[in-house]
Symmetry: C2
Subunit: 313 residues, 2 copies
């Protein structure tokens, strides 16, 4: 099979042996695979794939059709439309995935969108609903709301009945984020004037830490899942105590199978029904064929677009 | 009635009007009232009592007998032995407390101990069991384990079936903390070598923050309830993300009635039965009559003793 391949800081397409599904695994013919920030880091050699995942084929999510089943795999049948998060290897014509990590693709979701759904919606759902336990009527602040996880978090907050404030640096992207359901779209500078917030989704990093604590409501929760702008910041414990606040940090990739499977089941219960009835959508900025993977990566790295970059092998 | 009174940075005994129980309140004849760190701060004018509590009579906890019932109070009868946390006013001959904030005193617990039970055990229970959700088999680290909350946390962790590591600066106090049930009593310097810990109870403050994150297990929780040694510290979000860790901060005093009542009900369910069967105890360092309140405060401020300082009005 042909697959995107990382070689010396470049991404290109190479021929690889067809993967074979082991016990409990499913062989998926990939129809769409999202490009993510981690792929950029992996291209620069900074984000090695976890053990057991292909080391040189990037790609953290995929959607496609079941091509074959490994021993004992029983959740899906050949031809079923499936999607899921993988530790790596998503951006090839074929991929093997443990059946417990896969989710069915709702009929209402076409393939390009399905290929960009698992990573951002699972990340946002896990952070905002499972970790921070956002409740209806609470106020949610989404930092970096024009990004992939941000657009998912805005939609999930709105669907849950929370009041959603979104920070977006680029004025041109604010209208699109408002259309996704944000009640309020603001510039990141001075966001703390718009609080207090019950849940703050931090996708930017340590520079926001102090203002986040200031903007927190009583019993508020800050969930940190991105630190591109800095990893270390000063935390005022007295301020956090006075609000009985929580700072939670999380990442998905390093989790063992049982936790990844648990997040997939939670997605099936709580999020996929909202896609099935059309309440949520995956904004797609652009699709690329596998041959154009380098252009797709460059396009992602350039930023500035709202929506996912999707490869179609 | 006579009561401890804060005047110009001093604590003395003054005559006050007898308090009268309002609707839902209980008039308690106080038999024992613990001295706490907050009393020291209040003496220095640094910790004003919350609105609705006596502003000049200190005392955050008390135990005694029900002397009279306000309108509609029905949880207790005259003569019942009760104890509880109050926003202030615990260190007088009489005090009024809302009945939902009071707990029955188990028969096995005599008055001096009961007067020093509510604050430290509610604080430790709320932080370690309710907030951090310590589970059997997990590893608990208690910083400052020779203090009041520390001794309570060590005993609660042991009773739950956790493995308890206690840091104690004073070598003379280590044997006593081990007798309370700590599996391991260590010097605070280099504590992070003894990890990883699932739950860390932070009673010291910001200087421990970096080492706490280093010593955290996957999915670990740091609960900050004391910051005497410093309020601001650097938090490494990348390290916290890699462990999917939590930093939680809390304080009891500023909570509204419904939350204080909820903590009291949780204490009745989860902690008082352990006192009734003799699994837990309140170490008492020394008791003082109300007339000796200044000596009691000086004794508390001097530190170095394991166990509570109790006033007996």
């Amino acid at each position: 099979m042909r697959a995107a391949t990382i070689r010396d800081g470049e991404v290109l397409v190479e021929q690889h042996p067809d993967p074979e599904p082991g016990a409990g695994q499913v062989l998926v013919r990939v129809r769409a695979a999202g490009v993510n920030g981690a792929d950029m880091m992996q291209r620069r050699g900074r984000y090695p794939a976890p053990p057991g995942s292909p080391q040189d084929i990037p790609g953290l999510e995929l959607a496609g059709e079941v091509e074959a089943l490994g021993d004992g795999a029983m959740r899906f049948s050949e031809g079923d439309r499936v999607m899921g998060i993988v530790g790596g290897g998503g951006q090839g014509e074929l991929a093997v995935v443990h059946e417990r990590q896969l989710m069915p693709v709702p009929d209402a979701v076409p393939f390009p969108e399905a290929g960009g759904l698992p990573e951002v919606f699972t990340t946002a759902h896990d952070a905002v609903l499972r970790r921070a336990a956002l409740r209806p009527g609470e106020r949610l602040l989404v930092h970096g709301a024009a990004g992939g996880v941000g657009t998912a978090a805005v939609q999930l907050g709105r669907a849950l009945g929370a009041h959603v404030t979104a920070t977006v640096r680029n004025p041109d992207a604010r209208e699109a984020v408002a259309r996704l359901g944000a009640d309020e779209v603001i510039d990141p500078d001075g966001f703390e004037e718009h609080g207090p917030f019950d849940v703050i989704l931090e996708l930017v990093g340590a520079p926001n830490l102090g203002a986040n604590v200031k903007a927190l409501n009583m019993e508020g929760r800050i969930v940190v899942i991105g630190i591109a702008a800095g990893a270390k910041g000063e935390l005022n414990l007295a301020a956090l105590m006075s609000k009985r606040g929580h700072v939670m940090a999380s990442m998905l990739r390093a989790r063992p199978l049982e936790l990844k499977a648990a997040t997939a089941r939670a997605m099936e219960r709580e999020v996929l029904p909202l896609f099935a009835r059309g309440d949520l959508r995956v904004p797609v900025a652009q699709t690329f064929s596998l041959d154009d993977v380098a252009a797709a990566y460059d396009n992602f790295a350039a930023g500035g677009k709202l929506g996912k970059i999707i490869l179609e092998p």
